[in-house]
């Protein structure tokens, strides 16, 4: 077949191929357990172990530190998270400038969330400004964060994304990965890797094959448009 000519697989053919794949339930459970443990969702991991019999492969109490740090961040107690990280290993933040900046940024966001505008401004001047000066790469992010102060309702502003719960999750994941790295442990859980593999495989097949694409990763729905063309 000449380059440029693409094979075609209809939705029916594709579904037949999917149906032929053998799924081992334990494999799926292991992927989930690996994610929960690596990301520090210890309570979910414990319940999941009890309900499914899936072994976590690590000593769950040993990862409680990471869980508590994540919980602190997720509930907005950034100082508590920072203290706990420093108790664990002060080098993590001393050496991780970007992570350190993101944590300070998150502190400011939480102050804005609580409506403590003046305190937030003082904090920005004392902590964020100097870090921005030292590291020009933080400048844009710094400006965005400080801009939160001028909106009456930051949530409903163009910068609303900073106020979202997932912003906390993002920083929590970054911190979690840094702790794992400092402990010499596997940082990347395998479940995201599965998604990356799908995206990568798609990038490799795209110019060879016309087939139903995934339209939504979270639901694994296939695009409804019939593969023609």
């Amino acid at each position: 077949m000449a380059r440029g000519e693409r094979r075609k697989l209809s939705l029916e053919e594709w579904n037949r191929k999917l149906a032929a794949v053998k799924i081992r339930k334990q494999d799926m459970n292991n992927l989930i357990m690996n994610y929960l443990v690596t990301e520090g969702f210890v309570e979910a991991a414990e319940v999941f172990m009890a309900e499914s019999g899936t072994q976590p492969g690590v000593d769950l109490p040993a990862i409680t530190d990471r869980m508590q740090i994540r919980k602190a961040l997720q509930s907005g107690n950034v100082e508590d998270a920072i203290d706990r990280v420093n108790d664990l290993n002060p080098e993590i933040l001393e050496e991780g400038h970007e992570l350190d900046f993101h944590l300070q940024q998150q502190r400011m966001i939480e102050l804005v969330r609580q409506g403590k505008t003046e305190e937030a401004l003082e904090f920005a001047q004392e902590y964020l400004g100097p870090r921005g000066e030292e590291n020009p790469q933080f400048q844009a992010e710094l400006e965005r964060t400080v801009a939160l102060l001028v909106f009456p309702d930051a949530r409903d502003s163009p910068l609303g994304d900073l106020m979202e719960l997932s912003q906390r999750q993002k920083v929590a994941s970054e911190l979690n990965a840094a702790i794992l790295s400092s402990q010499g442990q596997e940082q990347e859980p395998r479940l995201p890797l599965l998604l990356k593999m799908l995206l990568w495989a798609h990038s490799q097949l795209e110019d060879k094959l016309i087939y139903p694409h995934i339209s939504n990763l979270a639901t694994a729905e296939l695009g409804h448009q019939a593969p023609d063309g």
């Binding site: 999917l18 799924i23 979910a44 319940v47 395998r190 890797l193 593999m197 097949l205 694994a220």
Partner: protein, 415 residues
């Protein structure tokens, strides 16, 4: 993990009498120049009968004799190539030449690439289909990439000779290669792994992917009735934005009653529970219903109530013949059980094993889900199926990743 060594038997195309290949004497995998060798018009090129196959393709060539001038070109040509030109002089051909160490592609002057080579040297050629590159080794040492952006999908190993007494001998893996091919393959695999790991995940509203992953995990836990885990994930990963609806729990438990009855050997109970879950669901699948009835027969034989089994068979199982050969065979198998003193250890004994009940329970469950138009699999399971299907398409396309990278191993799953 690494591609099987080629089991194909490799041959040079035989010489013809009406073109420059008449200047080549081919014997097995050896090629010797026997022409006049006066000008470039006396060049002669030969390719193998079959094209490079796997995603990462490698072969080696021994320079037995550099002949008069050592105008030897080693590389790849397309299907319809010019037999009177060295590899690299024409479009769709690629060659590394011994007299000047240059790399040629659609060029008569080439570009500086590697050292010159001559008598006693062993050259290796690597075609990486994913990276679309061609690289060489000399005496086992990797020389780096000679050609990038190689657009041809079908290429044939080739050698070209130009002056008297030049002679080469090719090796396509029948004898061990001089270069450490497994190291080159490991490196290619590493490059692919890094590509995969560096794929950016689609971001949620604020640049993370926790929510996407959270939904994938949550839906899987809910699909399999792990309610407590689902609730914990909804709380810790998704900020309570999702919850398992009570109807999902009820449906799951109703299906669990069907499964429990089948696994426990109570087919009447299973039929009743299935009817309670979705009236008419099994009646709509006559083959499956017949299998449940056959299982009831088997359960009666298990407790050696042969009379009841026979009576039940007469009353309920007679329609098997109408359902096709498979059902007729199942019926004759279960009837045969009656003949044995110890049915469990008879040739049809597998019918009495727990696995038979479990398989039936799976199929009934799938039918119940279908009748309610509920998904058979969680999104996570579907994503995995899609990945495996894509992997087999990559294999079909001879993508090196298919042979070099073990996706299951990267995912920490048994291969």
């Amino acid at each position: 993990m690494f591609p099987r060594v080629s089991t194909r038997s490799w041959h040079w195309q035989p010489s013809a009498s009406n073109d420059n290949s008449r200047f080549l004497r081919i014997s097995g995998l050896s090629v010797k120049y026997v022409g006049p060798g006066d000008t470039d018009a006396d060049a002669a090129c030969v390719r193998t009968t079959d094209p490079a196959e796997s995603g990462l393709f490698y072969f080696e060539v021994d320079v037995v004799n550099k002949g008069r001038d050592g105008f030897i070109g080693i590389g790849f040509v397309s299907h319809d190539f010019d037999k009177g030109r060295l590899p690299g002089w024409e479009p769709h051909t690629f060659g590394y030449h011994g007299d000047d160490g240059k790399a040629f592609h659609n060029s008569s002057s080439g570009i500086p690439y590697g050292p010159k080579f001559g008598t006693g040297d062993r050259l290796g050629v690597m075609f990486n289909r994913a990276e679309r590159t061609i690289a060489y080794t000399k005496n086992g040492i990797y020389l780096g990439i000679a050609f990038r952006n190689v657009q041809d999908d079908v290429l044939y190993p080739a050698v070209g000779l130009r002056t008297p007494d030049e002679e080469v001998l090719a090796n396509f893996g029948a004898v061990p290669f001089k270069a450490d091919v497994s190291a080159m393959k490991a490196e290619a695999a590493y490059v692919i792994e890094q590509q995969i790991r560096s794929m950016p995940l689609p971001v949620d509203k604020t640049g993370g992917s926790t929510a996407t992953l959270g939904h994938i995990i949550f839906s899987h836990l809910a699909q399999h009735g792990h309610w407590g885990s689902a609730a914990a994930v909804a709380r810790d990963m998704l900020g309570e934005t999702v919850a398992v609806p009570p109807s999902t729990v009820q449906d799951f438990e109703a299906r669990l009653r069907v499964r429990g009855a089948i696994v426990g050997g109570d087919m009447d109970g299973a039929l009743a529970a299935a009817e309670a879950f979705q009236p008419g669901a099994l009646a709509a699948c006559p083959h499956l219903l017949q299998r449940v009835k056959c299982q009831k027969f088997v359960e009666l034989v298990r407790v050696r109530d042969d009379q009841a089994a026979l009576a039940y068979g007469k009353a309920e199982l007679g329609s098997a013949a109408d359902l096709g050969p498979e059902q007729a065979e199942l019926l004759s198998d279960i009837l045969t059980l009656l003949c044995y003193e110890d049915p469990a250890n008879s040739p049809q004994g597998t019918l009495l094993q727990p696995a038979a009940r479990a398989a039936l329970a799976d199929d009934v469950d799938a039918a119940l889900l279908k009748a309610r138009q509920l998904p058979q699999h969680s999104p996570l399971e579907r994503l995995y199926c899609i990945l495996k299907a894509m992997q087999s398409e990559l294999e079909r396309e001879q993508h090196p990743a298919a042979s070099l990278v073990d996706l299951d191993r990267l995912l920490g799953l048994p291969s």
